[in-house]
């Protein structure tokens, strides 16, 4: 094989941080090359450089032997480089065909384009209706739009930035089949992920980044997942472990809760029921947009439900607002860190007081005791190893993983009766994720009930005692997690409809 893309000494510095420091590696023609690294290792900056969104301070690139220095994405696309973004670069209000047209240099008329979308999507087993509004599609279908957009331009190099984080296992299979087909046709793929098992099944070469530098190359077909992980983190990892304990009495009971969607693109909840016992971790899995946010809002009290649908230790809390629910011991940590779990421009002390005031005795005759608030914030920082200069720092200034440790720690240290977390380790690096999972397990071992809503199935299998699937706003019956396999979970999540084709029967997103 010969080289398609060669990077030599790429360096890019931002104020205060060197995102890429002399990065060099080579992507072979027809190869599937993995780029591995923790959050903040510099992967995104590197691919943005290749795609022409970031201009490097130093270093050169060669594409197919020719010097390659794209000034903007348009130039990259013209050179045959296409990219599927981590956060979808799609327009909800526009149709599939319009979205595809926006990613092309010289798109044909919409009618021709629709025909070609159908052809290409059928050829690669990615059925798509060009006329549908992208806002109505499931996560898997939305990704197909991005991939088809790339395929229509006959790319020589396809960059995939964390493509599987929102997919069901079945959708991942379809994606991998497409990528293998592409690589057999001679296209190269640069694949970014921190899911090591995926990389081991898909990729034939890997470059590991840490702190902006290349720390090594690996053969993902030879190396084990834990070897790769240790190379990424630069230290040994210990998996979280639950202390043995027996589940106790029922803590939180949901009885036939239904709720209309909050917004146009929301999902209604239908007839949800479950019982959470003391000392138990209930994992709720599902692909994004199947009602996770709505379920969290119903539990936290942001949207009260009909009377008699939610009971905490024998008390009906369905009509209570968040603050009384917190006082009763039901705490929640939503998915969106900045803007929902924490106020971005307020200090950690202020953010700690925001949910901790009542339960940690910071209120005196309606006035806040800032000393206690600061002490509480300092406690969280210490107990959860939050890397920050101190509690006076604005929440916005923390990295995603550190802020996540802070918002989870803030709820855990309030001694909850029941804790509900949504996507507790989303975008968090492996070491921090392990710490957060361990904290949740310890909390359960100490007798609290924990609900983990997540799209990361490995995480759910690791922490849950029981697992339930949330699908199109309906919750399946919880089953013991120990009896589950990935395939079974995939079927529970409704990924099966992808095997039959997505039209007509849209299970994942109604």
């Amino acid at each position: 094989m010969t080289a398609l893309l060669e990077l030599r000494g790429l360096t890019k510095a931002y104020p205060g941080v060197v995102a890429n420091d002399g990065v060099s590696f080579t992507v072979e023609k027809g190869g599937v090359h993995a780029l591995l690294g923790e959050n903040g290792a510099g992967k995104s900056t590197l691919v943005k450089t290749i795609y022409g969104l970031v201009r490097p301070d130093a270093g050169t690139m060669r594409l197919d032997g020719q010097p390659y220095a794209p000034a903007e994405p348009r130039a990259a696309r013209a050179a045959g480089v296409a990219m599927v973004f981590q956060h979808f670069s799609l327009f909800d209000a526009l149709s599939v065909a319009e979205n595809v047209a926006l990613g092309m240099e010289n798109p044909p008329g919409l009618r021709d384009l629709s025909r070609r979308i159908r052809e290409v999507s059928d050829a690669y087993g990615l059925p798509l209706d060009p006329l549908r509004r992208v806002g109505d599609l499931s996560a898997g279908e939305r990704q197909r739009v991005e991939i088809v957009r790339c395929l229509l331009q006959d790319p020589r190099l396809l960059i995939m930035d964390e493509p599987t984080s929102v997919l069901t296992p079945q959708e991942v299979e379809i994606l991998f089949a497409t990528l293998r087909q592409l690589s057999q046709e001679g296209a190269s793929i640069l694949y970014i992920s921190h899911k090591l098992e995926e990389i081991r099944t898909l990729c034939d070469a890997a470059t590991v980044l840490r702190g902006g530098k290349v720390v090594g190359d690996a053969d993902p077909r030879q190396a084990t997942a834990s070897e790769l992980a240790e190379q990424m983190v630069g230290a040994k990892l210990t998996a979280p472990r639950a202390r043995a304990h027996e589940p106790g009495a029922a803590m939180l009971t949901m009885k036939a809760l239904s709720m209309p969607p909050a917004s146009q693109f929301g999902t209604p909840l239908h007839d949800l029921s479950f019982e959470l016992r003391a000392g138990e971790v209930l994992g709720i899995g599902g692909v994004a947009g199947n009602g996770q946010d709505e379920l969290l809002a119903a539990l936290s009290g942001e949207r009260p439900s009909a009377a008699g649908t939610l009971w905490l230790e024998g008390r009906d809390i369905s009509r209570l607002r968040p603050t009384p629910r917190r006082a009763a011991g039901l705490l929640t940590a939503p998915e969106e860190r900045l803007g929902h779990a924490a106020a971005p421009d307020m200090s950690l002390t202020e953010n700690a007081a925001m949910t901790g005031a009542a339960r940690r005795g910071m209120l005196r005759h309606g006035f806040l005791d800032w000393g206690r608030a600061r002490a509480f914030a300092t406690d969280i920082i210490g107990a959860f190893d939050v890397r920050t200069p101190g509690p006076h720092v604005a929440a916005r200034a923390l990295s995603g993983g550190n802020l996540q440790k802070f918002v989870i720690g803030r709820e855990v240290l309030q001694d909850p009766r029941v804790l509900v977390v949504n996507q507790p380790t989303w975008g968090v690096d492996a070491a921090a994720a392990n710490a957060i999972r361990q904290a949740l397990l310890d909390l359960a071992a100490d007798g609290a009930g924990v609900i983990v809503i997540s799209q990361d199935l490995d995480e759910l299998l690791e922490v849950s005692d029981r697992f339930a699937a949330l699908n199109a706003g309906r919750l399946g019956a919880p089953v013991p997690a120990a009896t589950l396999t990935m395939e079974r979970i995939g079927l529970m999540l409704g990924g099966a409809h992808d095997l039959k084709g997505s039209r007509g029967e849209d299970v994942a997103h109604v």
Partner: protein, 309 residues
């Protein structure tokens, strides 16, 4: 009350004239908002167009030069807003409000020497026998060119947004500036162009007031037309056809209530004067309710864009 004094022919003909300034301003603002920018300075841009158009028409003697100057004047003021909000990233709402106050003040200053003069208006077109047809002739074939130009503009904007690639890019920028940027589109450039177009349209609308409808210059003569144009854009759910309906509805009720007042209707004058505002908003609210839960607004409307990385 003597309803027979109201002639339907004249009513319809004059409602089109009454609606044209608002229609021009609203269609321009719709394009601006489609690109994701909320410019609340429509009133200020209209009045600047009214005064620059009037002065240019007086000085050159040609109403067409007046309209050209008005479009340029409106666009220049709009680009001031564009520079502040797109380059210096100032708050769009506050800047737009300031632009209205600024326009009202500056127009009053530069218009001082022109109060009370009468301008050469645009002549109505005359298509011979077509214009002489009963009813149809006066209603369809008997207007000044700007009325037709405004209708043409609505059709062009509709076609531009629906069928052209540039229109698609403009909508994409308004939907998600981050995604558009990631795909390599120039968000700021697209928005500045949209802002300039919106300003030019508002300027034309203002000049139509000072050169055709009134036709002379008085301080603050737009009298809230810019705000109505803004409201029409929202209630028309950002669709060109509905903007047309809204503007003509507003014009129609305005003319009708004037006719009713002269016909001696036994309704208080204040209520009649308020009727156009009430009815227009009511009808457009009903339309947008039927169309769905108000999800038509460009998703990134009024959000500042700052390219990172």
């Amino acid at each position: 009350m003597d309803l027979s004094s109201i002639s339907p022919t004249l009513l319809i003909a004059s409602l089109m004239v009454a609606a044209t300034p608002i229609l021009l301003a609203a269609i321009g603002e719709m394009v601006v908002e489609k690109s994701g920018v909320l410019n609340l300075g429509v009133e200020g841009m209209m009045i600047m167009g009214a005064v620059t158009g009037f002065i240019a028409a007086i000085e050159t003697g040609s109403p067409w030069a007046g309209f050209l100057a008005a479009a340029a004047g409106g666009a220049v003021v709009a680009l001031l807003f564009g520079f502040l909000t797109q380059v210096l990233l100032s708050n769009q709402v506050a800047t737009g409000l300031a632009l209205t106050l600024f326009g009202l003040g500056v127009s009053s200053l530069i218009g001082q020497g022109y109060v009370g003069i009468k301008a050469n208006g645009l002549r109505r077109i005359d298509l011979g026998w077509l214009t002489d047809l009963p009813f149809v002739g006066r209603v369809i074939f008997g207007h000044d060119p700007m009325v037709y130009l405004s209708l043409l503009l609505v059709a062009l904007v509709w076609g531009f947004l629906k069928y052209t690639r540039a229109g698609l890019i403009l909508r994409a920028v308004g939907e998600s500036h981050d995604a558009a940027h990631a795909l390599g589109y120039h968000v700021r450039r697209v928005r500045l162009m949209a802002i300039a177009f919106g300003g030019a349209c508002a300027g034309l609308g203002g000049a139509y007031l000072s050169l055709v409808r009134v036709p002379q210059w008085t301080d603050g003569m737009t009298a809230g037309a810019g705000w109505i144009a803004l409201a029409i854009v929202v209630f028309a759910s950002w669709r060109a056809g509905r903007v047309l309906v809204g503007a003509y509805l507003f014009g129609g009720i305005t003319v009708l209530q004037l006719n009713l007042q002269t016909a001696g209707a036994k309704v208080s004058v204040e209520l009649l004067s308020a009727a156009p505002y009430l009815v227009t908003i009511l009808v457009l609210v009903l339309i947008s309710f039927r169309a769905g839960r108000g999800g038509d607004a460009p998703a990134d409307l009024a959000r500042p864009f700052h390219a990172s990385g």
